[in-house]
Amino acid sequence: MIEIKNLVKRYGDLVALDHLNLEVSEGEVFGLLGPNGCGKTTAISCLLALLKYDKGEITIFGKEMHPDSYDMKRKIGIVPQEVAVFEELTVAENIDYFCGLYVKDKAQRKECVEQAIDFVGLENHRKMRPKQLSGGLLRRLNIACGIAHKPELIILDEPTVAVDPQSRNHILEGIQRLNKEGATIIYTSHYMEEVEQICTRIAILDHGRNIASGTKEELKRMIKTGERITIEGVALDREHLQQIRELPHVFQIDYKNQKIVICCSSAKQNLMRVLHYLQENEISFGKIFSEMPTLNDVFLEITGKELRD
């Protein structure tokens, strides 16, 4: 459905997108994950022909995207990062206005507006002005304005920033529902948990480049870390640390403030081996737990920095 080839966008000397390549198939919930400033919003803006780019090719629905590709734009819904509504209009009026940019028929539009209000759960707030809504409800209105015309492709740019957990869940569930109803979704975020939760495929961006992409399982398989064991409240000397480092499949340890994080490659019984070592050496500890790698580990291992840095 979407193909981005070698996209380059420069702001003066700054390279915002550096030969970015992406492919999104129909029916996917495609996640664009990366830290702030990695080029997610720039990529979206280029995709929608809101920004001119220096080099590359963008095709949507099999056609090259241009600023005047209105037949293609008709099938796209956009939910921008910042809330983009009119303060003077009520909830219903705002949705009606933005829906009116796509749907001319008044009766059809009325139905679309009602469905969008219902979808985002703003039935009791339809006559309120944006100023009267909480941050979470405002985000829901922002989404309703982007989806009311029932687009085939919905682009959501960090829709859950500064949103309370209840609204966040509502938004994420809604996105999954839209996808089930047939919409292809592009979802950008720097919250890896959200991306892991809803996206069928993910591309990790850093410095305007696609550094890894695939399903979350595929991404996790790309890195060395298969399991991460954390032991808290443990006192270890230099010799113990060396011995732990030499355990099978352990390739990295990090010990600080009586807490050790042991990174192991994917193998069976990593946790058992660590426990056995502690028992044998009569080392007491407060808490021990094992975790599978996250997208943050993927990002950390590829870029050498945390997603939230």
Binding site: D71, K73, V83, A84, E87, E88, E93, L101, Y102
Partner: protein
């Protein structure tokens, strides 16, 4: 027409601001006009004075003079008590004390006027009264020289009507400026203030980066969005203009009905509306935040109004100020308005001046429109 309807809807939501400015404008226009009219009436009305008369001559002629003065003033005959009269003059019981001196009639035979006038310090009432007495006495002297007796001369002078003053009627209103003229004089303030505060604000709302992105990503072509924006500005401007014209007609019906040059006022007002819309448009596309709208539009509208003769008449402004004001369309609007107020017959040299003023305004309309479009185009290309 979604973009167009959006502007109309949002203007309706800002109707409070429109009404506020309209109220201020009407208040100023009505108050200034009322003051102006009152000043005119007071300036031309004859004054009636409280005159205390002490007739020391008590002759036939002195009695005739008193009768004459009674026709024009509030006259009370008093005894010759200087202290009492001075006190009454001090407490403004009388405006003037006239003493008809002994031998008044005899002196009059010789062509002299034997009177003594006293009024409160700083007052010109004595001079005013003295002129009237002099006129009356001069008339008697004239009749006597023509062979009439003193008594006949007095009667003739009493009957003589005052000559009428004929003013040069330049504007067909007997020199009086038309009431609706001051309404049109303040019109630019209303247009600039309302369009700047309301349309500038709405335009900025549409230009907010996020909203603009949403609009640009939509299925409505950019050229159509721009066309609908211009149409919305024009329609809102026309609505405001129509309301103003209707209000003016309701307020100054008599003055308007007798005006032969009304069509020129309308054309002038229409051009003023267009240039004010364009100023608001430029403000709306130039400001960087909503806060800046009022910070910019208020001084711009007031500045233009002060500079171009809306609040201060052009004829009291310095040459240098006028030289600067000539670079603004409202200056030409006010120049044309002043001509229309003075001359009802717009033909010949006056007609030429009016047409030049209107022509320059048309050029400003095109120049401002080009400037606005150039800014928008630059901003769109910058992306």
């Amino acid at each position: 027409m979604t973009v167009f309807k959006g502007y109309i809807k949002m203007t309706k939501k800002n109707i409070g601001i429109v009404l506020m400015y309209f109220g201020i404008f009407l208040g100023i226009a009505i108050a200034i006009n009322a003051t102006f009219q009152k000043e005119n009436k007071e300036g031309f009305a004859a004054q009636k004075l409280d005159v205390a008369v002490v007739d020391l001559d008590e002759s036939e002629m002195s009695k005739q003079l008193v009768s004459y003065l009674k026709q024009k003033h509030q006259v009370t005959l008093q005894k010759d008590d200087k202290a009492k009269l001075a006190e009454e003059l001090y407490y403004q019981k009388h405006n003037v004390v006239l003493r008809i001196l002994e031998g008044f009639e005899e002196k009059a035979e010789k062509g002299e006027i034997g009177i003594n006038l006293t009024n409160s310090p700083g007052s010109y009432n004595g001079i005013y009264l003295e002129q009237q007495i002099n006129n009356f006495m001069r008339n008697i002297f004239m009749y006597r020289a023509a062979g009439y007796s003193t008594e006949e001369g007095c009667q003739k002078a009493m009957q003589q009507k005052e000559s009428n003053v004929t003013l040069e009627d330049l504007n067909g209103n007997g020199g009086k400026l038309p009431a609706h003229g001051s309404f049109f004089q303040y019109l630019p303030y209303l247009f600039l203030a309302v369009f700047g505060a309301v349309l500038g604000k709405i335009l900025f709302t549409f230009r907010r980066r996020e909203v603009k992105n949403r609009l640009m990503a939509s299925a409505v072509p950019l050229i159509r969005q721009n066309a609908e924006t211009i149409l919305a500005f024009f329609v809102i401007g026309m609505m405001m203009y129509t309301v103003c014209i209707v209000s003016m007609m309701l307020l100054y019906g008599d003055s308007v009905r007798s005006a032969g040059n009304l069509i020129w006022y309308f054309v002038n007002g229409f051009l003023c509306m267009l240039s004010s819309l364009e100023v608001a448009f430029i403000i709306g596309v130039m400001v960087k935040s909503e806060m800046q709208i009022n910070t910019v539009s208020t001084p711009v509208s007031l500045g233009i109004c002060f500079l171009c003769g809306v609040f201060v008449p052009l004829n009291v402004m310095g040459a240098q100020t006028k030289a600067v004001a000539k670079f603004l369309p409202i200056y030409w609007y006010e120049s044309v308005n002043n001509l229309l107020m003075k001359y009802e017959d717009v033909s010949g040299a006056i007609g030429k001046q009016v047409l030049v003023g209107l022509g320059i305004q048309v050029l400003f309309v095109f120049a401002l429109a080009s400037a606005g479009m150039a800014i928008v185009r630059y901003q769109q290309q910058e992306r």
